[in-house]
């Protein structure tokens, strides 16, 4: 009977919190970043020297640059992989523990890669 059913606490709060934080970052930061980085030079919003190696390394390898990496790479990664995980379930393609670990595992792995590249470049 459902009345006596034992319920196990889900680990979704962890992934959902990362997903939501990532969702805020994607909505707030990513549009501006794409417009400036990808279309900025050709639209004349930025002069070519503003994206110079010197300037960008100074900006990005500042300790605050790590926060920037978290906001535009790491949290959006967890956001994207959370939606893909649930999307696989919705499409009835895969709904296994393996699919879950592949999704969140790849987000973790790529986040680790981003952190390593940041440390490597400093």
């Amino acid at each position: 009977m459902s009345l006596t059913k034992r319920f196990q606490r889900s680990d979704e709060p962890i992934w959902w919190s990362l997903f939501s934080a990532g969702g805020v970052c994607v909505a707030m930061l990513i549009p501006a970043l794409i417009v400036l980085l990808v279309f900025g030079p050709s639209l004349g919003l930025l002069s070519p020297d503003t994206l110079s190696y010197q300037r960008i390394s100074t900006l990005l390898y500042h300790p605050l640059g790590l926060m920037f990496i978290g906001a535009v790479i790491i949290l959006p990664l967890f956001h994207a992989m959370h939606r893909i995980h649930h999307g696989l379930h919705d499409l009835q393609w895969a709904h296994s523990a393996l699919a879950k670990w592949l999704c969140y595992g790849s987000a973790l792995l790529l986040s680790f890669l981003a952190l390593s590249l940041w440390l490597l470049g400093r």
Binding site: S2, L3, K5, F7, Q8, R9, S10, E12, P13, W16, S17, H86, H89, D90, Q92
Partner: protein, 277 residues
Amino acid sequence: MKQPETKPSDMQHLSVAIQRYRPEQDDTPVWQSYQVPYDDSTSVLDALHWIKEHQDSSLTYRWSCRMAICGSCGVMVDGTPKLGCKTFLRDYPQGLKVAALANFPIEKDLVVDMSRFLQHLTTIKPYLIGEPSLVQAGSASAGSDQPSSAALQPQLQSPEQVKRYQQFANCINCGLCYSACPQFGLNPEFLGPAAIALAHRYNLDSRDQGKAERQPALNSKDGVWSCTFVGFCSTVCPKGVDPAAAINQGKIVSTMDGVIQWFSPKQLDATPQEPTS
């Protein structure tokens, strides 16, 4: 076929296709079309009545109040869950298709088996669970001549306190939100929109102390966490309950509950505190 007694020849006719399932003869549902006279005030439920009276008395469907209160006449109209009494033929000039509510087993024609939903509703205890000391005082006083004063205290609520849960209290258990929810279709163990909205409604009620009893089910995989905020449940709700908001507010509640659990001493959840009496 029986001829209608009074032919409303002055009325326009509309083609209404109905999904039939007659368990004695069908293995899968089949479509049947009817020409139904209608005017501006003809509801889908009126059309079903007309067909049953004039064309096919075996047509089976549920209904009671005809005024969007009882929640019995839920059907799919052109693939969208609707109350038959609150949906009008005038809005479908090209004709319409009426089927049994999606995601539920079909008993016959437009009648579905809602027991899964009702089970989930029972699981979340959709009623006021009082302060234990007050309940004890109340039951103790039942046998004696002198009722305890605590049990007789009215539990007052301010308009603000009512406002907090009022919207979620308007549910009529029609089940439209379960038919709208693909997550319930994919996983019938999901507690689903109405049950979680009602759990939220009682958790938000200042008179209620039952959150701890409801939370384990809500915290589970089949509780709030099966929801992916499709949001269609709130679109189809005929009473404006917004179950999607309730479930997703419930995700925040469940996350906080998890954080508190994480930081609280382990032995507390291993041995629940017995009431000292």
